[in-house]
């Protein structure tokens, strides 16, 4: 029983990490039908900037978080201007896929060349020793990740629901052109969603760093798994990613323990295929009707 709960907690923590990253895909997909395919590398950048400021230069924690937010804003702006906007304007609707992938590769290589190719330890400000409750060990950072992930999703979803600007975002995601006719600056809404998404990615990088370690490749696998989480939860649904994250995180932990460690990732991706087959817009997703 003790082991079961230990696994459960590990699975939930891992799942929340995925959800946090996956949420970045959702935010921009709902407004622009496009997202940053190298979201994982933005997370990596956040982790690296956090490490340089907080660990290497002993900058206070809050100042470091502000720096990471600032980097997130700048990178989001550059990404939008170079990879998203030209693609949305042009006739080819899918150029953003390759453009954002390329952006991520460049980012990763820059970090490798000018910073380091090694993996570094990021000491959690909450301490590295696990808290032990009735024999079950939980890292303080894991608890923090679970809380922050849920808070961010709830905050953004409430923002969309209860504020005027949030409602504008929903309007753009419902119907871009009608929203424009109603006086909503849809380009600004899309830009805003990209800024928000990249800031969240960078913050997530700092948040998961004590668990994953910081290195140029820290975001690659996370980005892919988070993508699966997004699809399972529904690309349009904020709360869906929390569920999707739990599904993948728990399925990994329990498969590794009770079936085989070699098949750890298989059930998650099996679920992904099943969802794509039977619920193409995700478990929580809205059905999209395209009028021709």
């Amino acid at each position: 029983m003790e082991q079961f709960i230990q696994l459960l907690i590990s699975g939930i923590a891992q799942g929340m990490i995925y959800s946090l990253v996956a949420f970045g895909y959702n935010i921009t997909f709902s407004t622009s039908r496009s997202f940053n395919f190298s979201h994982g590398n933005f997370l990596m950048l956040g982790g690296v900037v956090g490490l340089i400021f907080f660990i290497n230069n002993q900058v206070p924690f809050l100042a470091m978080v502000l720096a990471v937010v600032f980097v997130g804003l700048i990178m989001g702006l550059i990404l939008y201007k170079t990879s998203i906007e030209p693609s949305l304007k042009s006739k080819s609707n899918y150029a953003w896929i390759l453009a954002t992938l390329a952006f991520g590769i460049i980012l990763k290589n820059i970090v490798e060349v000018f910073w380091s190719t090694d993996d570094f330890r990021f000491d959690s400000p909450l301490g590295n020793a696990p808290i032990r409750i009735m024999g079950i060990g939980v890292l303080p950072q894991e608890i923090l990740i679970i809380i922050v992930a849920i808070c961010i999703v709830v905050a953004v979803e409430s923002f969309k629901k209860y504020t005027i600007f949030g409602k504008a975002i929903v309007a753009v995601s419902e119907d871009k052109h009608t929203a424009s006719l109603m006086g909503i600056n849809q380009q600004f809404v899309i830009l805003f969603s990209f800024l928000l998404s990249s800031v969240i990615a960078c913050l997530a990088g700092v948040l998961v760093a004590p668990i994953t370690m910081v290195g140029a490749t820290m975001g690659t696998v996370l980005g892919v798994k988070a993508y699966a989480v997004s699809i399972i939860g529904g690309l349009e649904s904020g709360y869906g990613v929390l569920l999707g994250g739990l599904i993948i995180g728990l399925s990994e932990a329990f498969t590794a323990r009770y079936i085989s460690t070699g098949y750890k990732d298989a059930p998650g991706f099996l679920i992904l295929i099943l969802v794509l087959l039977f619920l193409p817009s995700g478990i929580f997703g809205k059905k999209i009707f395209k009028k021709v």
Binding site: Q3, Q6, L7, S10, A13, Q14, N109, E112, V113, T117, D118, D119, F120, R121, N128, A129, P130, R132, G135, G137, V138, L139, I211, T212, M213, G215, A216, T217, M218, T220, V221, E252, A253, F254, A256, R257, S260, T261, G262, K264, D265
Partner: protein, 403 residues
């Protein structure tokens, strides 16, 4: 069509302003002169490849630094056969297919006389075929799992050599340390899913089988996995009293850290990669006691050659603790072995260098040990058990066992 374009060319030449024409002539003259001046001292090209970016990069970069250091020393001392050594370096990104591409480029385009590297087992196995076909000697200086002596079966004329503790030797030493020396009875295996990890697992299992023992559990993890709870629970429930691991730094650190999380105190013994800086740093105090076979221990250097190497390394690369000291030392020694073989052969022809490698006239005292005859016609492994000691992680560094 051809005639027309020729005419165009001539007309263009006539029309060319005199001044520009003179300038071009000048440039042409300078390049001819400078190329003339290098003839007679054509450098000997040696290919070096390994992962210089990505997760395995610390191993690749340390190895390359070791090779560069040796090359700089050799060139400063007048080179080989009166010629300088020129390194042709390529990044294989730890990708198997890149290994094959790089080998073709090195062998057919750059026309190198010898090859050093690589680091990753999969990359090595995907590329050694090319050096054998082209008859250019290759000294593998980091990869422990790559096929070397195994190649004799398919290639009696084998051009692949190695100066690194191979997995047969390593797994034998790991098992001996665990069962004979420390008297553990129930080993659990935990290996990553790469060619390196799974090759290591197979060799550990057969070394156990020789002693009539079966691992109580065999777990697997992927690169970049950070949560090992399930794997460790499985081993613990199976009643394991020692954990034998085969993987690389970051994931091994995750194993050590997860042990702390589930509050299981168990000895870790594994491949040489437990000495990588990214294991030691990331595992912190949880890594203490991890034991691994080593050909070179930075903090246990006793030979003058070793301390000279460390001083030169620190002066050149400004690194106090070499990220992967074993790779740097083996890289350094591999360059010297290649240089001495070329010297002995008196030529850069592949078959003659290979013959020299197999029959060393002068012994070589290197950083990783003293080699009277590093290789023979039937054994292309320079490192044997006598060259290896078991290192132990202690408070952030690797130390010899008795320290």
């Amino acid at each position: 069509m051809l005639k027309l374009s020729n005419n165009f060319y001539l007309i263009a030449l006539f029309k060319m302003k005199k001044r520009i024409f003179m300038m071009l002539m000048g440039v042409a003259l300078i390049t001819t002169v400078s190329s003339f001046s290098t003839i007679g001292g054509d450098p000997i090209k040696i290919g070096v490849y390994g992962p210089f970016s990505g997760g395995s990069a610390p191993m690749g970069l340390s190895m390359r630094n070791g090779v560069r250091l040796a090359t700089a020393e050799i060139n400063a001392a007048g080179g080989v056969l009166g010629r300088k050594i020129e390194l042709v370096e390529r990044d294989d990104e730890a990708k198997n297919e890149r290994g094959g591409q790089i080998m073709q480029e090195l062998l057919f385009k750059e026309d190198v006389s010898g090859i050093l590297g690589p680091v990753n087992t999969g990359v090595a196995d995907a590329s050694t075929k090319y050096s054998n076909d082209r008859k250019v000697p290759q000294i593998i200086n980091v990869s422990a799992g790559a096929k070397v002596n195994d190649l004799f079966a398919t290639n009696p004329d084998n051009y692949i050599f190695r100066i690194a503790a191979n997995d047969y030797v390593q797994s034998e030493m790991i098992i001996r340390e665990a069962l004979q020396k420390r008297k553990f009875k129930k080993p659990a295996l935990l290996c990553d899913d790469t060619n390196y990890g799974q090759g290591g697992r197979a060799k550990l299992e057969s070394a156990l089988a020789k002693r009539g023992i079966k691992a109580v559990s065999v777990g697997k993890f992927k690169l970049k996995d950070t949560d090992m709870t399930a794997q460790l629970q499985e081993a613990k429930n199976a009643g394991a009293d020692v954990l034998l691991v085969y993987g690389i730094g970051p994931e091994l650190a995750a194993v050590a850290n997860n042990l702390e999380k589930i509050a299981w105190k168990v000895q870790i013994i594994g491949g040489w990669t437990l000495s990588m800086s990214n294991f030691i740093n990331n595992a912190g105090k949880n890594g203490n006691g991890a034991t691994m076979p080593q050909t070179f221990i930075e903090n246990g250097v006793t030979s003058s050659k070793g301390s000279k190497f460390l001083a030169a390394y620190e002066a050149t690369y400004k690194e106090k603790n070499i990220p992967v000291a074993v790779a740097a030392a083996q890289g350094y020694d591999s360059m010297y072995l290649m240089k001495m073989a070329i010297e002995q052969a008196g030529t850069t022809e592949g078959p003659k260098i290979k013959a020299a490698l197999e029959n060393f006239k002068k012994g070589y005292t290197g950083v990783t040990g003293t080699y009277k005859k590093p290789f023979s016609a039937t054994d292309h492994e320079a490192i044997h058990e006598v060259n290896i000691i078991m290192g132990v992680v202690k408070d952030g560094i690797v130390v010899p066992p008795n320290k």
